[in-house]
């Protein structure tokens, strides 16, 4: 299995531990990830709020870069990059008139032929949970988590289309496969405030605070995410949330790849647990998952 890897800006900065753990999991499972040389930012939310052509042209530029590598589908771990790549592809497939203008901007013909995938799909669909189960070295028994999907992994319908819109299951099933208990909770696809992290921090504190509270009320000891923006809003800002809401949440926020890596027997030292604001090591030790 070979993919062109598009890390996106977050995985090279605030979400380095996501990048580290993804690469560890991939290499342990024989999945080859070849980073797209010279990849650029997808434009994220600011681009699609400002100029439509830019919000399509930037992802297309990266997809074209991947096309020239001939490494198969593009895989990314960031739910926001994933969404922008998928939306750009959908646009280039369906908007036959406007497509020409975008082709003029990037200087190449493109009709959405390079498929964009999320690493969660690669694990659960391409590799498959049955195959993954055979590679699990030790099940992470006793850990109770809330699987948090956020907005952009599943929405909009017919564009990303990787799971059910209101009750996605991919992360829950994945956690089940590695022995982690996923609690039932109603905030799977609520919004954390996403890109308002800098511009409207007080809103992020409220929305992310609600998510932490619901997870904790439903008995989760940690939250598992598949998006670097969700992770940073819930983890980096947890201290500020506690201060503002007068709470004492101490809920580690894991990337799914970190827990999968532990179940495959990969050393915790390689998974970037020192880059979390809320220390996850305490909980993992308490559960006997790491020594």
């Amino acid at each position: 299995m070979k993919y062109a890897y598009y890390p996106g800006c977050s995985l090279h900065s605030t979400a380095k531990e996501y990048d580290l753990s993804t690469k560890e999991v991939a290499s342990a499972l024989g999945i080859e990830l070849v980073e797209i040389p010279g990849w650029a930012c997808c434009g994220a939310t600011p681009a699609h709020l400002t100029v439509q052509s830019l919000s399509i042209a930037l992802p297309v530029k990266n997809l074209l870069q991947a096309k020239n590598m001939d490494a198969g589908d593009v895989v990314t771990c960031c739910a926001a990059c994933f969404s922008r790549l998928k939306i750009a592809n959908h646009f280039m497939e369906t908007e036959t008139e406007k497509r020409k203008e975008v082709e003029g901007i990037v200087g190449e013909r493109y009709e959405g032929e390079v498929k964009a995938r999320h690493f969660l799909e690669v694990l659960t669909k391409d590799l498959g949970l049955d195959k993954l189960k055979t590679k699990v070295a030790k099940e992470l028994k006793g850990l109770k988590v809330a699987c948090y999907y956020g907005c952009l992994l599943t929405r909009p319908k017919g564009v990303t289309g990787i799971d059910d819109l209101e009750d996605p299951r991919l992360l829950d099933d994945l956690m089940g496969t590695i022995g982690v208990e996923a609690v039932k909770w109603p905030y799977k696809t609520e919004c954390c405030g996403a890109s308002f992290s800098l511009s409207k921090t007080e809103i992020v504190l409220k929305l992310s605070g609600d998510i932490l509270e619901m997870a904790s009320d439903e008995g989760a000891e940690a939250i598992v995410v598949a998006c670097p923006l969700c992770q940073s809003n819930l983890d980096l800002r947890q201290g500020m949330i506690n201060k503002k809401l007068k709470k004492s949440f101490d809920i580690p926020i894991f990337y799914f790849t970190q827990l999968v890596a532990l179940s495959l027997g990969i050393a915790p030292g390689k998974l970037g647990f020192d880059k979390h604001m809320v220390n996850p090591v305490k909980l993992l030790k308490k559960k006997g998952i790491i020594a």
Binding site: C9, S13, T14, L49, V51, I105, R155, P156
Partner: protein, 192 residues
């Protein structure tokens, strides 16, 4: 809230312009309010998403473009996923923000999201990828909140969550060219 909407306003072309530009059939909305019921930002909005749609149907372009609502939309797409009339409300919000950007209409109270978008895109245009230190520094400077996030920024730096230097090995000239051409093309904002 009570409005007096004059005949001239009702005849304003914004509904047609929006339907042409975004491909979204605003006319189909029958005001069920499901978009507003599921909106995580509605608690901060002066006009709810379904009210914005109604205002467009009534031709109230000026009020819509200068509203705080369009800049509070988090693009979470919950409304789009749930609309029984299959209107992509988030796309409409995008269209309105892009129109406000083009027409240089600023929201009445708080233009911080606009500032963030501008600083973010400068950053990408200049460096090809996000260069966080420059992004945070510039945003704090222009928003006059010089010490915002000083409680976590140094820690992030020590954890090497933010780097000191921008990424290399990117063809920045090419990226700048894409920015230049994109601003000329615009795509959805052909109508004046």
């Amino acid at each position: 809230m009570k409005w007096f909407v004059s005949q001239d306003v009702i005849k304003a072309p914004i509904q047609d312009i929006l339907e042409r530009g975004s491909g979204q059939k605003v006319r189909r909305c029958y005001q069920c309010g499901k978009c507003s019921a599921g909106c995580p930002m509605s608690f901060k909005m002066e006009h709810l998403p379904n009210q914005i749609i109604r205002m467009i149907q009534l031709g109230m372009e000026k009020e819509v473009l200068s509203s705080q609502t369009i800049w509070l939309c988090a693009s979470c797409l919950a409304c789009t996923a749930r609309c029984p009339r299959e209107i992509d409300i988030a796309e409409i919000m995008d269209f309105l923000r892009r129109r406000a950007y083009l027409k240089r209409v600023k929201p009445k109270l708080d233009a911080k999201v606009l500032l963030f978008n501008k600083v973010f895109l400068w950053n990408v245009e200049w460096f090809g990828r996000l260069y966080e230190i420059a992004l945070i520094g510039m945003f704090n400077m222009f928003s006059l909140e010089f010490f915002k996030d000083f409680s976590i920024a140094p820690k992030m730096f020590l954890m090497r969550k933010i780097g000191l230097f921008p990424a290399l090995k990117i063809n920045r000239k090419e990226i700048r060219e894409i920015f230049k051409r994109s601003h000329k093309v615009g795509l959805d904002q052909k109508d004046k």
